[in-house]
Each structure stands twice: as structure tokens, then as C-alpha cells.
């Protein structure tokens, strides 16, 4: 596990503790991209920082880009420390967050440590960027975020945002404005609103290898945003992806058949993270079967579902009487790693699964 990829290897590593996800992409020659952040439940460290350190990647020079696809709690935990540690990386977030209202909101709530961490993490990021004189980059549909032209034998690489669409940014700004507290209203913890209008879908091309990383973007009946806007866009980069980070934990409302038909190769390497909250547990059995009908190369960082924390008998008695359900937030933790040589064709992805990560085929459904 502690072996770094070769210079000529592309790597995609996906970490998922059951509530959250983090993706690392090695684009060759020790250049890395971090997309979102989650915490390793055992070490309490950000997965990206921990993993890169363990394989000897210098965080200050090796990480080129850190992308926060949105500010929900499950995609941003530990991103403050990650931005601090990767001192030369460019930070990218959704254009929907480029408002005075949202940053004021962050500054107001950031001073109040809460149980929901999204705001506090974002505040740490803003402070870190200010201190290190870095300017964030804002992502919107069809916008190139980072480019390597390929000098010194390195393969060319381009990272492009496919969302949020202009209309989604408009909706996000309205939504975020409503979050801003008014005077004499009660201070509460911040719970991110739904729907998520700001999710950043990422398209990565390294040489002739294409990756589609779907964030939490969902479908919308309004074709001006959501997956339909991406599929219909004639401005998105050309190419079909061989790797797909399945959006929104495999949920049906984030699955558009046209994405599989027009943006992905047949039987693409597909990977996702699970999600549990209240009576929602993703992916469902129906989701798993639907995804398996599209690819035989499906993986997940942990089986969907939750486990309970063992408690003393007296505590358990009271808890049982007072609750309808109770479960551990990060019930499982897994890491799925895929590596492929940049030059040899056909592309041969080498799959490695750590901790709770597993293939969809081996799940009992």
C-alpha cells in the first residue's frame, strides 16, 4: 500500500468512511490533484494528507490542485488542514460560492465551532489562503482549472470543470443568501440546504486517458442545470472516459443514462462511496443492480449500511427507549486504488482494495 505510483502511472485513489469522500488523482510525474476531503476515522487525519505522506509525496510541491466540489459536511472534513499542508496548491471551489454573502456567512459562523463542520472547514481554508497569499479559483461549467502542456516528456494534462452551470450558480446564490443570519435571530449550527446546486463535476484528461468525477451532482427537471446540461453541452471537452466516479453515492436521482452512453466507454471502471443519514442509505440494492447493469467493473469504498456502537447495558436501555434508530456515523472505512500505465494500450487498470472497499459484484444483493 505504501508504494508510490511510477512516474508513468495514473492513479485514482478513493477514500470513503461511510460519511464522506476524498479522491486523489496522480496525473503522472508526481503531480497530484485532491478532490474533496474526509477524515480517516482511526487516525482522525485527513485521508489525502495521510496517504500522500505515507507514500512519500512532498505535499508542498506535489499537490497542484485541491478542489472542494461543494461545502457539504461529508465532502469537506479535513480540507482546512489539507490546504494548510499543501502550501503551494491552488484551491478551487464552486463559482456559486463566489459571493460576498457566502463569505460573510462563513466569517459569521466560522467563529463558532459547531458539530457540523462544513462552515468551520471553509473558514480555515479562507484563512489559510489569505495567510499564504493564494487566491482561490472558482469553478463553473466548461472552465479549465489547470493545465500541463507536457514539457520534459510529461504527458499533457488538462482539468476542466463541467459544472455548475450558469443557471445553477444563479440558484445557489439565492439559496446561500437565505442562509445568512439576520440580527436577533437565534444562533444555531449550520445544516447545509438541499438541493445542492453548486456541485463541481470534474473532467480530467492525462494523455489520452479520460476520467469523469461526478461529485454529488444530481439530475434536474430543468435542463439548464444538472447532468442533462453537461450531456447537452457542445462546449465540454471531447473524449470518452474510462473511469467514472459515480455521483451522489449511486443514487437514482444522480444517474442519467445518457452519461453512460455519451461520456463513458462501455463497461467503464466505476467507483463510488456509500452514504448513510437517518432513513437514507445509499446506494440502495436497486441502485447497485442498476449500476451493475451498466458495468461489471463497479467498486465501492465500503458496503452500504451502518453498524451500532456497543454501549453499556444501562445506556443501551435508555437509548433503545428514546430513539427510533441510532448508528455510528462512519461505520466503515475503505480505500479503492486504481493504477494504469500512461502509455501501454489497451488501458489496463490495476485494482487494489483496502479495508472495507469491495467490488459491487461481491456484494450480497
Amino acid at each position: 500500500m505504501l508504494t508510490p505510483p511510477l512516474n508513468e502511472e495514473v492513479e485514482i485513489s478513493i477514500f470513503g468512511p461511510g460519511y464522506g469522500e476524498c479522491i486523489l488523482v496522480h496525473i503522472g510525474f508526481n503531480d497530484w490533484i485532491i478532490i474533496d476531503s474526509c477524515i480517516n476515522p482511526s487516525s482522525k487525519e485527513p485521508c489525502a494528507v495521510e496517504y500522500l505522506s505515507s507514500i512519500g509525496v512532498p505535499l508542498d510541491t506535489g499537490v497542484k490542485l485541491i478542489i472542494a466540489t461543494h461545502w457539504h459536511d461529508d465532502h469537506i472534513r479535513g480540507i482546512g488542514k489539507t490546504v494548510n499542508s499543501c502550501s503551494n496548491a491552488t484551491f478551487v471551489c464552486s463559482d456559486g460560492l463566489l459571493t460576498k454573502e457566502f463569505i460573510t456567512f462563513i466569517k459569521a459562523y466560522g467563529a463558532r465551532p459547531g458539530l457540523t463542520k462544513g462552515v468551520n472547514e471553509f473558514d480555515i481554508v479562507l484563512k489559510s489562503l489569505e495567510t499564504s497569499h493564494r487566491t482561490p479559483k472558482y469553478a463553473s461549467a466548461e472552465k479549465a482549472l489547470w493545465k500541463r502542456n507536457g514539457p520534459n516528456g510529461k504527458p499533457p494534462c488538462c482539468i476542466t470543470a463541467l459544472s455548475p452551470a450558469d443557471f445553477a450558480i444563479h440558484l445557489a446564490k439565492i439559496q446561500l443568501k437565505e442562509l445568512f443570519p439576520q440580527g436577533n435571530t437565534t444562533k444555531r449550527d449550520v445544516v447545509a440546504p438541499q438541493p445542492n446546486n453548486v456541485a463541481v463535476v470534474i473532467w480530467i484528461e492525462v494523455g489520452d486517458i479520460y476520467l469523469l468525477l461526478g461529485s454529488d451532482l444530481e439530475n434536474s427537471p430543468d435542463k439548464r442545470h444538472g447532468w442533462a446540461a453537461i450531456v447537452d453541452s457542445n462546449l465540454r471537452p471531447e473524449g470518452i472516459a474510462s473511469v467514472f466516479k459515480i455521483p451522489h453515492h449511486g443514487s437514482k436521482n444522480a444517474d442519467l443514462p445518457e452519461v453512460w452512453e455519451k461520456m463513458l466507454i462501455k463497461n467503464p471502471l466505476s467507483v463510488m462511496t456509500p452514504f448513510s443519514k437517518g432513513n437514507v442509505s445509499l446506494p440502495t440494492l436497486e441502485d447497485i443492480n442498476r449500476i451493475k447493469s451498466q458495468t461489471s467493473e463497479g467498486y465501492i469504498t465500503a458496503p452500504p449500511g451502518v453498524k451500532r456502537v456497543k454501549k453499556p447495558k444501562i445506556v443501551e436501555q435508555f437509548v433503545k427507549g428514546a430513539t427510533k434508530s441510532i448508528y455510528q456515523v462512519n461505520s466503515f472505512f475503505g480505500h479503492a486504488r486504481f493504477r494504469a500505465d500512461l502509455k501501454s494500450r489497451p488501458i489496463d487498470w490495476k485494482t487494489e482494495l483496502f479495508q472495507s472497499a469491495t467490488s459491487l459484484n461481491s456484494l450480497k444483493v
Binding site: A108, P113, K187, K277, V315
Partner: protein, 217 residues
């Protein structure tokens, strides 16, 4: 000498934890005005004989005029203080970690010994329950999420349930002044302070500074 600690765990809330062996698990919570303590580390001490669920009030050392009984010691940096030694009280300077002496009441307390204490935040509200995140205050067990039945909440607290509302859930046993023990589960919602216009103006100023630093005007 009987001592106790107030432990800060965010800018607006403290916990009083006794260090007396017989009151080891006794805790009480109180709120302080954020205007006095925002962005500042501080410590508060008290005598452990404060009654359970008593109203707590605070004064910042030397900066705000004490209201009769409250006094402070700015020279002692320890969390602990002998409350009988008042020779250093009422200093004028504001120490880096001010210590506030809390007046105690000589009453026998109803003690609560907890097996587990969670801090919770409401994430979603359903017809008969609410979904919440629970964080073990002692850090002994991982974060959990639960759907707590509304029937478990007192009538007084029901009106406080809202998305983002914060509460505490303790499970343990109460020892009454008579010495009898009762198993108990207590859920109490925090009476959260309100946003003041000064705080919001301050946040706006900070945001403007950030935007200028990023070259966004």
C-alpha cells in the same frame, strides 16, 4: 479546600467540572455573553457546592464591574484556585486567560453521575422524531446519528427544536441530597443566544477584507 473547574468548550459555553473526589462526575453548564468572551481564552472557577441546574452568571475580570458577589483573580494561571484566598482578586488588568470566581451557594446538590454525555445538533425534523448528530463529550466513542422520539423531549424544550438546534443528552444516575439514586436520561436543549448586529457587521468587515485579499471587489 474544595475546588472545581469551569472548562471552556467553545466561546459561548462552559462546563463546570468538580475535582472533588465525591463530586467527580458532577457537571453543570452555563452560558456567557459572547460579547465579553468572543475570541478570548478564559477560565472560570467555582466552588462545587453550586446547586444542580442553578442559574450561572459571569463577570469578566476587572473589565466589567463585578456585580456584588463576582470577583476575579488575574494572577493565577492555573485552572484551580483556592477560593478562600482572595488576596489577588479584583485586578485591573485583563489577563490572557482570565479566571472568574463564581460565587457558590452552600446547598447540598442533587448530583448527576453520567455514563455518557452527548452534545447533539438537530439535522432534520420528522413528525414523531428528529434526526441528530451526537458527539460524545468525553471523546470515548465515535460520532453517532440518531432519530430521537419527540416524546422524550420536555414540553418546555419542544419549542426549541429546529434545524441546527443544539442539545445535551446525559445518561446516568442522580444522587439526591438524601443519598438515594435514580437512573436517569436527561435531554436538554440549549437556550442559544441571538445574532447581534455588531457580530454581523464584524463578519461583513472580515468578508470584505478577504475579498480584497483575493482581488475580488
Amino acid at each position: 479546600m474544595q475546588l472545581a473547574r469551569f472548562k471552556q468548550y467553545d466561546q459561548e459555553r462552559i462546563r463546570i467540572a468538580s475535582d472533588n473526589i465525591y463530586l467527580n462526575d458532577f457537571e453543570e453548564e452555563g452560558e456567557v455573553a459572547p460579547s465579553l468572551y468572543m475570541d478570548r481564552k478564559w477560565k472560570v472557577i467555582t466552588n462545587p457546592n453550586v446547586t444542580s441546574y442553578g442559574q450561572v452568571s459571569f463577570q469578566e475580570c476587572g473589565f466589567i464591574a463585578p456585580q456584588g458577589e463576582a470577583s476575579v483573580d488575574s494572577k493565577i494561571n492555573s485552572t484551580y484556585i483556592d477560593i478562600d484566598d482572595k488576596s489577588n482578586l479584583l485586578q485591573k488588568e485583563i489577563p490572557e486567560s482570565p479566571i472568574v470566581w463564581y460565587p457558590f451557594k452552600y446547598q447540598r446538590a442533587t448530583l448527576f453521575t453520567s455514563f455518557i454525555k452527548w452534545r447533539g445538533v438537530v439535522l432534520k425534523i420528522y413528525k414523531d422524531c428528529f434526526l441528530c448528530r451526537l458527539v460524545d463529550q468525553d471523546g470515548n466513542s465515535p460520532d453517532e446519528e440518531a432519530e430521537i422520539l419527540l416524546s422524550e423531549i420536555s414540553d418546555e424544550d419542544l419549542q426549541l427544536i429546529d434545524i441546527g438546534a443544539v442539545f445535551y443528552w446525559s445518561i446516568g444516575y442522580q444522587t439526591n441530597p438524601s443519598g438515594s439514586r435514580t437512573r436517569s436520561s436527561i435531554i436538554r436543549f440549549r437556550r442559544l443566544p441571538v445574532w447581534r448586529s455588531e457580530e454581523l457587521s464584524e463578519a461583513q468587515k472580515k468578508a470584505e477584507k478577504t475579498l480584497i485579499a483575493f482581488g475580488i471587489t
